[in-house]
């Protein structure tokens, strides 16, 4: 217990924050008669100040403010014994954690968080083995593996999980009721940026661009995914109509690799590790990383229902903070190797460590005999730019997934919790942007988030 360590500094100051388990100190606020340096035993960090305050409050309450009795008692039994006696009758640790997680206690600690076994969900997944949830008091929180995106959506809607790993278009689609019953969802944080790729069958080594892809059969993991939106965008920019000139099928990622191997499909735009896995299996080659299409594009996200956030605000806050911490930890290149080891086992990704490491470090073979070194092949940044939500909505409308007038800004701001994320990032000491909208450039074409309809009209190939 933390109290024991502080005690080692020895007795001394009569200070309000002095060690309450020391027989030589006074806990009276005005009784500071000593000339010794108060820093001697006074705790230094914010956390230990809170710890000490809680301890003192408990001890003072126990001795009903009688400081002399307290000092006699501490002198008699010794501080560590006293600490353990008090801890046995009063949940000191819980009180300390509670005080730190102000403004209130956690409504629920043992959360269930759904995830899909792909590297996009790295922060959500690694937060379990690397104890980011525990750090924020969510002791007993579990991450549960879902079989596919439709399943994780249903888990989230039916409250079988409290929060979930989703593709960033999914909370928007759920809120709008596209492909599901409308349920208000929140997307507090983005997980990864970049990190996807177009993988092609070995027989397509000579393909240069979309113009060579007419008649191809592609796979994407889900309709409401960045994969689908980016693949369609890429093809259409090259003059290929994604609905008429190629086939795009929704296929679970492991089956993509098997289908590619069997030659049933020509390629896919998929999350990793399934691009790198195709190289590992000798089934295909990495044709293009998605960061070449849109540097810094969002992909997967952390999502929770609005109901969860409203009914359990403190828990929501704690899990939100855990995710931000984990995401910022994953952002640092020097941590990526450890993360690969933590998330590769059967309980999480169930993939060879080597493949996960190639994805996370960006040092990888592309299947054509070349080795690449792209540290930002996948990156992690929690900030949910609302301009990204607007872009996703323009593309959902472009391809007919949503119809009629779309109130881009309102929906983007309702679902992508940019300012909340910024506040918590600031609290954690991370650098934050001052805006929540910014212009993006996708394949050289600029997107102004204030003019979504004009942007939509500017495309030659569209379904509206």
């Amino acid at each position: 217990m933390s109290g024991n360590k502080k005690h080692e500094h020895g007795a001394g100051c009569k200070h309000a924050l002095a060690d309450p388990f020391d027989s030589q100190t006074s806990l009276m606020h005005c009784g500071c008669g000593s000339k010794e340096d108060p820093a001697d035993t006074a705790p230094l960090t914010e956390e230990s100040v809170i710890d000490r305050t809680v301890e003192s409050a408990v001890v003072r309450a126990l001795f009903q403010g009688n400081d002399l009795t307290r000092r006699r008692f501490m002198g008699l039994v010794g501080s560590s014994t006293a600490l353990s006696i008090i801890a046995s009758i009063f949940p000191l640790d819980a009180a300390k954690a509670w005080a730190k997680d102000s403004p209130g206690p956690l409504e629920k600690k043992e959360l269930k968080i759904g995830f899909i076994p792909i590297t996009c969900g790295t922060p959500i997944i690694m937060a379990d083995p690397m104890k980011f949830y525990e750090k924020h008091g969510l002791v007993g929180t579990k991450v549960v593996k879902a079989a596919g995106w439709a399943m994780i959506r249903d888990w989230a809607v039916t409250k079988e999980v409290d929060c979930a790993h989703m593709l960033s278009p999914m909370p928007l689609a759920l809120t709008l009721g596209a492909g599901s019953t409308p349920t208000p969802f929140l997307m507090p944080a983005v997980e990864n940026i970049n990190g996807q790729a177009i993988t092609l069958h070995m027989k397509h080594k000579n393909v240069k661009g979309p113009q060579d892809m007419k008649g191809f059969t592609f796979c994407v993991p889900f309709d409401y995914s960045m994969h689908n939106m980016l693949l369609r965008y890429y093809l259409a920019e090259g003059g290929v109509d994604p609905d008429k000139e190629v086939k795009i099928r929704v296929v679970p990622p492991p089956e993509m690799v098997a289908n590619l191997k069997a030659g049933n499909v020509d390629g896919y735009l998929a999350p990793d590790p399934f691009n790198q896995r195709a190289v590992f299996e000798g089934a295909g080659f990495i044709f293009k990383l998605t960061k070449e299409l849109w540097p810094g594009h969002p992909c997967c996200a952390f999502a929770a229902s609005k109901e969860f956030a409203t009914q359990m605000p403190n828990t929501f806050n704690a899990v939100f903070k855990s995710i931000i911490d984990a995401t910022m930890y994953a952002h640092k290149p020097e941590n990526r190797k450890d993360i690969a080891v933590a998330i590769a086992p059967r309980n999480y990704l169930n993939q060879p460590v080597e493949v996960v490491e190639q994805v996370l470090t960006g040092s990888y073979p592309d299947g054509l005999g070349n080795n690449h070194n792209e540290p930002d092949r996948i990156d992690f940044n929690p900030f949910p730019w609302q301009s990204m939500a607007v872009w996703i909505l323009t593309q959902m409308k472009r391809w007919g997934y949503i119809k009629g007038d779309v109130d881009y800004r309102t929906i983007a701001e309702q679902v992508f919790l940019a300012s909340e994320c910024r506040d918590l990032m600031k609290e954690g000491g991370y650098p934050v942007p001052s805006e929540t909208y910014m212009p993006h450039t996708i394949m050289g074409k600029s997107f102004d988030p204030t003019k979504p309809e004009e942007y939509l009209q500017s495309f030659a190939i569209k379904r509206t």
């Binding site: 991450v143 549960v144 399943m151 039916t158 409250k159 079988e160 492991p254 059967r346 309980n347």
Partner: protein, 257 residues
């Protein structure tokens, strides 16, 4: 069955097994990436030497997963069978009702229990209950049809004797009707058990509910065919084991006409 015959079938079975292993080995050598019997045996040894490990909510030992599947099967099958036998007796005793319901039973019987899954998940909103209900659905129809058929074909003499003895309806069902229709009902139960065990694997794989189906899916995610083949063998062996147990139970219930 005499001893000579029993030895003959055992030798034949052994030969078939060797033939199976041999052709498997040949297939694995000609197909790239197809694991043969030896790597599968190694994997099996690894999984079976620690069958109840627990590495978190998404990684549990094969023994634990089998128990999950078997208990799901038992719960779904028992409730399904009770409902099926109950409704079956009522239909069997009432010819008009039986005729009216029969087309519906035949339609429902033809539907794969997995096809119910999205609908069930949507209505009960819980994947564990959905998996259980899929097993329930798989168990109900064969037993229901067989019970109704068996009861409606009981010799009229039995029922007449029961009426003469002025038995109350409850003891009439338990002491006359069920024993008389017993063999047909047990045959229905056996079919139900088989289809329930067949349904449970895809249900677990699709729902992500812990069990053997989950194991298959999780290993498929890692493209680990060795583990998938091991899982297939486990599913088969457990299925046979359940069947044997069931036959023993059925023999106890059997009676001489």
């Amino acid at each position: 069955m005499n001893t000579k015959n029993s030895k003959a079938w055992m030798i034949l079975a052994l030969l078939l097994f060797v033939l199976f292993l041999g052709s498997w080995q040949l297939v694995s050598m000609s197909l790239k990436n197809m694991p043969g019997p030896i790597p599968v045996a190694k994997t099996a040894y690894e999984f079976l030497s620690d069958p109840f490990y627990d590495n978190g909510p998404n990684d549990k030992g094969i023994g634990t997963l089998t128990l999950y599947s078997v208990s799901r099967l038992t719960a779904g099958f028992v409730t399904g069978s009770i409902v099926a036998i109950g409704v079956g007796v009522i239909l069997g005793l009432n010819q008009v009702l039986f005729k009216a319901c029969n087309p519906f039973i035949q339609v429902f019987r033809a539907i794969s229990p997995i096809a119910w899954m999205p609908l069930l998940l949507y209505s009960v909103q819980n994947s564990n209950w959905t998996a259980l209900l899929v097993v329930f659905m798989a168990s109900v129809w064969p037993t229901l049809a067989n019970t109704a058929f068996g009861v409606s074909n009981i010799k009229k003499d039995y029922l007449n004797v029961a009426n003469i003895l002025q038995m109350n309806p409850v003891s009439k069902v338990f002491r006359v009707i069920l024993p008389a229709a017993g063999p047909t009902i047990v045959a229905g139960l056996k079919i139900s058990m088989g289809s329930a065990w067949v349904a449970i694997v895809p249900a677990e794989a699709l729902l992500g509910s812990l069990g053997l189906g989950y194991f298959v899916w999780n290993e498929w995610n890692n493209l680990s065919l060795t583990s998938v083949i091991f899982a297939i063998l486990v599913i088969g062996v457990v299925g046979v084991f359940i069947d044997v147990l069931f036959n023993r139970l059925a023999r106890r219930l059997a009676y001489a006409d």
